[in-house]
Amino acid sequence: MSAPVFYAAAGMGRKVQGPALVAKDGFSARYDLDRAQGVFSRPEHKLAGQSYVGRVLVLDAAKGGVATAWMLHDMSARGLAPAALVLNAVNPIMVQGAALAAFTMISGFDLDITQVIPNGAVVEVDPTAARPFIRIC
């Protein structure tokens, strides 16, 4: 039986594959990350202390301020970025940041995506498909 495919409402960037880091929590590069070390640093965040570098982040909603629009670009330039962002709900900042950084992101599902992707599973994210999707490899 093939693995289920979860379709998103929108996507941008290129197709990527990587291990998923999953939590029912929000995302903001300024609020949540130590970008020098590449780890979640906000003590209340469900992923506090965990490295996000090279991981497909599967999270609930974009949070916080506008800094992520620049920070994704800087994180990518320094090689300390996630592989992709998969969110139930985006805000414009995430879209603007992904657009500047040519970063892979998909969002908007008809279910809670954080509840169906197991933490640590290797997943494929394809925003280039006619219907952007994430699937477990």
Binding site: Y31, R42, A89, L100
Partner: protein, 415 residues
């Protein structure tokens, strides 16, 4: 998306590569978020501190700054959010020379693009507040939510690259809060106790933000029993935007688009309903107070202080002396008035440091903590306590009076 002749010319490169990049960036964002076309904007506001930009971001700006002048200038008034340092206070903050060099490079690049270096997140109190119905492209979530909600302007959160794009093209994709149908309420919040102090307003914003949950939610508050002043709205909105990523709220009988609840709730529509009382606000504040029993520093910022707030701080410091670092962050515009009115001198004689054009959390907060040995931070800003934990600080949310008391008693926090 539909494009007019001028937009087609921008795409074709008729106005140079910066404008061409800008409009393609905007199209990419607009398509993702369902925009049908562009809407002209009358102002743009860019968040671009160098901690966020990084070296890569500054180099990216510098590439545009080297274009011929006719190809690189913004075409609508474009202003800036707080910067990553106050050069006059950098030594006190232990900002390093590489941070200052990066700031100077970013400022030079922005100036070459024709950007006005206002360095403020309270432009709606100090520069040129937008008029109801005006489409603008503002960065800084606190600026957007205040302008949308209190002024009745129309803006989405525009991060630095997109706000700069709007400055260069004079337009922004028409999605989200540029659309009347998106501005209707999606949840109601009955407030059973009208906040008093600014940290109460911030706590209310934090509570509503957590319950709202994401950018596309528009809370309408009912039960506020008086007209809040601009600083109260500022703290409420900044916290709501910070905790909830919310860009627009209504306050029935107060804000311009909700003179009546029916103005923002369709007839017969039932919205998710919440209630907030004084107990919730005190519990929110206490959740931070539990973390520490003393402060290493006190910070008033986020948002920058109005002249009225600066005067309040100066008055509370009268006859007293801060014995731990006490920072008062404001805009260059307010700082000039504070200087002229003698308020800066009064605060500095009492041991405070007045910061101009920066906002603390946007100013290498982690590096400042490490260099100065700061961990425990007291503030009256709910927005700041929400952000600063991720930088390694342990924050506490107090009233302005309690913050001053802590600053003048070696950091002791009254229980």
């Amino acid at each position: 998306m539909k494009f007019n002749d001028e937009e087609q010319a921008m795409r074709a490169g008729a106005f140079g590569p910066a404008v061409q990049w800008a409009i393609e960036h905007q199209i990419s964002v607009g398509r993702y978020l369902g925009a049908g076309d562009f809407v002209p904007v009358s102002q743009a506001h860019i968040m671009a501190d160098t901690e966020s930009l990084g070296v890569a971001g500054v180099e990216w700006l510098e590439r545009w700054a080297t274009l011929p002048v006719e190809q690189r200038r913004v075409r609508v008034p474009t202003i800036t959010d707080p910067r990553g340092t106050d050069f006059a206070a950098a030594h006190r903050l232990k900002h390093q020379s590489w941070m200052l060099d990066l700031e100077r490079r970013a400022i030079a690049a922005f100036e070459a693009l024709g950007v006005l270096m206002t360095d403020t997140c309270i432009n709606y109190q100090t520069i040129m507040p937008p008029v109801r119905g005006a489409h603008v492209a503002y960065g800084d979530t606190g600026v957007v939510i205040y302008s949308n909600s209190v002024c009745g302007a129309r803006s989405n959160f525009e991060g630095g690259p997109s706000a700069l794009s709007a400055g260069l093209t004079g337009r922004t994709p028409r999605y989200g809060y540029h659309l009347p149908e998106r501005r209707r309420a999606t949840l109601t919040v009955r407030v059973n106790w009208t906040p008093r102090a600014l940290n109460d307003w911030g706590a209310l914003g934090g509570i509503v933000g957590r319950r709202a949950g994401d950018y596309w939610q528009v809370p309408v508050l009912v039960g506020i029993d008086r007209i809040p002043d601009s600083d109260e709205m500022k703290h409420f909105g900044a916290a709501l935007a910070s905790y909830g990523s919310v860009a627009l709220f209504h306050m029935a009988g107060v804000t311009p688009e909700a003179q009546r609840l029916d103005d923002v709730v369709a007839s017969g529509q039932t919205l998710p309903a919440h209630a907030v009382g004084e107990r919730d606000i005190r519990a929110f504040q206490a959740s931070y107070a539990k973390a520490i029993d003393a402060a290493d520093l006190v910070v008033f910022a986020a948002p920058q202080l109005s002249l009225v707030e600066v005067r309040q701080v100066a008055d509370l410091l009268a006859g007293r002396r801060a014995t731990i670092p006490l920072f008062v962050g404001t805009s260059p515009q307010v700082k000039a008035d504070a200087d002229r009115l003698g308020l800066t001198a009064r605060m500095e004689r009492a041991g405070a440091t007045v910061l101009s054009g920066m906002c603390f959390y946007q100013s290498y907060a982690r590096e400042m903590a490490e260099a100065n040995g700061w961990v425990r931070l007291a503030t009256n800003s709910a927005k700041l306590v929400n952000i600063i934990g991720g930088y390694g600080y342990k924050p506490v949310l107090l009233s302005m009076e309690a913050c001053i008391e802590a600053a003048c008693t070696g950091g002791k926090i009254a229980s």
